[in-house]
């Protein structure tokens, strides 16, 4: 007997619990004039999307393929509109793929959006039965599970209230309770755990872990990257409906974080370029100081010397590249490009880092470091090099300045750029030294999983 014959058979059957093959989903954008034409094509060809003009077709998913093994937790990440929810709906059988195939072994339980398939006008109790019937359970099978479902949801007497009176947390709790108590072989969960309270989220996670331990399969879509990384065995990163990266959670999540930070960095550079060009244009006329969103000036000073630009270089010396996201502990250099029209004998370069909320993190300058200025005329690049910048994860803003030894500014530029720091574990504050936990004595614990 070949594998193909045993597939879909009893518990002994091996192979993936879920197979997604080249799934593409095209939505149509409808214009009223199209309606009859598309109706004709639907009736004659059995599709509403074939032969659609490209400008009327929106590709939500393009050629997505993956397999999920029994007992595996599979995560899907990506920005808004990347196709995550569409993928889940296709896997759940709510939407039919425009091309490709989805094959799931066993019962698929889905919890997609709030109140997955609840009828608002009727009671939670009746909805449980309807939901169960949709999943293919008989009335008696639901009877048997009913008390467990209510207990898990924590709804108590509310179970007999119409669902429309539920809070969003209650919706999710009931939806999740039904989804996990109907013995799904493949459980699809979309970004819903965030709605319930902390205690319920923990209960859900414990239940998910139990299901995984029992050999069930999880497909998990979330914006909570930490949760995805903790929970999932493999992660797929969707970008504009296309699979961008698939693999080990840490690698994929880090790559995704990096791309998001790069995108933010690029936006920041563009904003900077815009403000630079605005400044140059403004230099002709009356000089209006640029201001930040709180009305504070972004730049001041006599301009006897100027900070032309400032940037962040990340990486070891020789390999450093300009970027604005880094892992805590990476080597960096803050580089200031400066210009002095007339020769100056008195100059100090300074850099300061602060948080977006205004907390000063660190600042230093060449005077504090003990440099004695001799002369500066024309152009120069000045770099503040840190072999390891150990900042806590978060976003930081940088000020760069050139001023006189007595502190009077030539050119002080606030928020000249921002950068983002990521790190493996979390902490409070801004400082993130290398660290580990040790203990002796009568205690027992499980160290964090090796990452």
């Amino acid at each position: 007997m070949t594998a193909a014959h045993t597939e879909g058979g009893g518990p002994a059957a091996q192979g993936p619990a879920l197979r997604v093959e080249g799934v593409t989903k095209v939505y149509r954008r409808t214009t009223p004039g199209d309606q009859l034409r598309t109706l004709k094509s639907a009736l004659l060809e059995g599709t509403l999307t074939r032969g659609l003009a490209p400008e009327n077709a929106i590709t939500a998913l393009a050629g997505v393929s993956f397999e999920v093994a029994p007992g595996e937790a599979f995560g899907v990440i990506g920005g808004n509109g990347s196709g995550k929810s569409t993928l889940l709906k296709v896997v759940a059988g709510i939407l039919r793929p425009s091309a490709g195939r989805v094959a799931a072994r066993g019962r698929v339980g889905a919890l997609i959006e709030l109140g997955a398939g609840f009828h608002p006008e009727i009671s939670g109790r009746e909805n449980v039965y309807i939901n169960g019937a949709v999943l293919g359970l008989s009335r008696r099978e639901i009877d048997r599970r009913f008390d467990d479902i209510v207990a898990f949801s924590g709804l108590g007497a509310f179970i007999d209230e119409p669902v429309k009176n539920y809070s969003s947390g209650m919706y999710v709790r009931l939806g999740f309770a039904v989804a996990v108590h109907t013995d799904p072989d493949v459980l699809l969960v979309d970004e819903v755990l965030a709605v319930g309270d902390e205690a319920f989220a923990h209960r859900c996670l414990r239940r998910i872990e139990e299901l995984l331990a029992a050999g069930k399969t999880l497909v998990f879509v979330s914006h909570s990257l930490d949760l995805v990384e903790d929970l999932c065995d493999r992660v797929l990163w969707l970008d504009g409906g296309r699979p961008r990266l698939l693999g080990e959670p840490r690698r994929v999540v880090d790559a995704y974080r990096q791309a998001v930070a790069e995108e933010e960095g690029r936006e920041h550079l563009e904003a900077k370029a815009r403000s630079d060009s605005r400044r140059e244009a403004g230099a002709e006329g009356a000089e209006e100081p640029e201001r930040d969103e709180t009305g504070q000036p972004l730049r001041w000073g006599s301009r006897r010397a100027e900070v032309v630009s400032a940037r962040l270089l990340v990486g070891p010396p020789g390999e450093a590249r300009e970027r604005y996201h880094l892992a805590s502990g990476e080597p960096v250099a803050f580089e200031i490009e400066a210009r002095a029209e007339e020769p100056l004998g008195d100059f100090v370069f300074g850099v300061a880092i602060s948080t977006p909320r205004g907390t000063e993190v660190w600042g230093t300058n060449t005077d504090l470091a003990g440099f004695t200025p001799r002369g500066f005329a024309g152009r120069a690049r000045v770099r503040l090099v840190c072999p390891a910048l150990r900042l806590a994860p978060g976003e930081y803003l940088v000020d760069a300045a050139v001023h006189a030894e007595d502190g009077s500014p030539y050119d002080y530029r606030r928020k000249v750029f921002a950068f983002t720091v990521t790190a493996r574990d979390r902490g409070v504050g801004v400082y993130f030294p290398e660290h580990r936990w040790e203990a002796e004595g009568d205690l027992d614990w499980e160290p964090p999983a090796l990452r």
Partner: protein
């Protein structure tokens, strides 16, 4: 067209649950709940009975008493038209269910048909009462033919279900369908021999009324209930044919449009 039937059979427990819910919602909350659902057909009956049987009272032929004749055709019609009107809107009305869960969409129009069928069956005692009163007044109404009523209902069921499915799928894509439908139903009502016997139609128009797909069913209801006789074989044949075609067309349409219903609602 078999696919849809198989799906409906697979989800019969869901169908039953939803139908029971629908009925409960209708009858809940008041002692008179059940009677409210009879009020609408009774009101129609009273109005038509008064207007056509008393005010106009033209050449109606041998349909005495008129109210009894009317009720035997009117109640099945209410089942038919109610099922189609509600069924056509059923996918739109339950968009939340089919968009968020792998909900078998075919169940929803079927629930409309089933719940209206139950209303029809629950209204049958009125028909029976009318027949008893008719007999008591000395008219030769009713008879053993009434035993064949279930057969007529079962024969009509595929027609009603098929049309409800097809209309539901169409209405999900084209919102105008429901408006068009209510007008078409008005037209259909008056071209079906419900408020008048077929014999009262002028000769030259009779064939037009005969091609109306609902005519054989209405005649069969009048035969089994009003006259209490067994409908002719040709009538059975016509009903079977119409029902088969109606189911085939409706479920085919539904199958074709099913894929995009979720996106359309």
């Amino acid at each position: 067209m078999l696919d849809t039937a198989v799906e409906l059979a697979r989800f019969r427990s869901l169908l039953a649950t939803l139908t029971a819910r629908e009925l409960k919602a209708r009858y809940r909350g008041s002692v008179l709940g059940f009677f409210w659902s009879l009020l609408n057909p009774l009101l129609l009956l009273a109005v038509y009975g008064f207007v056509f049987g008393y005010i106009l009272n033209p050449r109606l032929g041998d349909v005495e008493p008129y109210a009894v004749f009317l009720v035997t055709g009117l109640f099945p019609w209410i089942w038919f038209s109610g099922s189609l009107l509600e069924g056509a809107g059923s996918l739109l009305a339950n968009a939340g269910l089919i968009r968020k869960a792998a909900f078998p969409a075919e169940v929803l129009p079927a629930v409309s048909v089933a719940s209206h069928l139950v209303h029809f069956l629950l209204a049958l005692p009125i028909v029976a009462g009318a027949l008893v009163v008719g007999r008591y007044l000395g008219h030769p109404v009713g008879g053993w033919g009434a035993l064949l009523l279930p057969a007529v209902v079962l024969l009509q069921l595929p027609l009603v279900a098929g049309l409800a499915l097809g209309l539901a799928a169409l209405a999900a894509h084209f919102k105008d369908v429901r408006d068009i439908l209510s007008n078409l139903l008005t037209l259909l009502f008056f071209s079906t021999p419900i408020i008048y016997p077929l014999e009262a139609v002028p000769e030259w128009m009779r064939s037009a009324v005969r091609v109306n797909p609902l005519t054989p069913f209405t005649l069969a209801y009048q035969d089994t209930l009003f006259r209490g006789v067994v409908p002719e074989a040709s009538l059975w044949l016509q009903m079977a044919l119409v029902s088969l075609v109606g189911w085939a067309a409706g479920s085919w349409l539904f199958g074709r449009l099913k894929e995009t219903v979720v996106e359309a609602v």
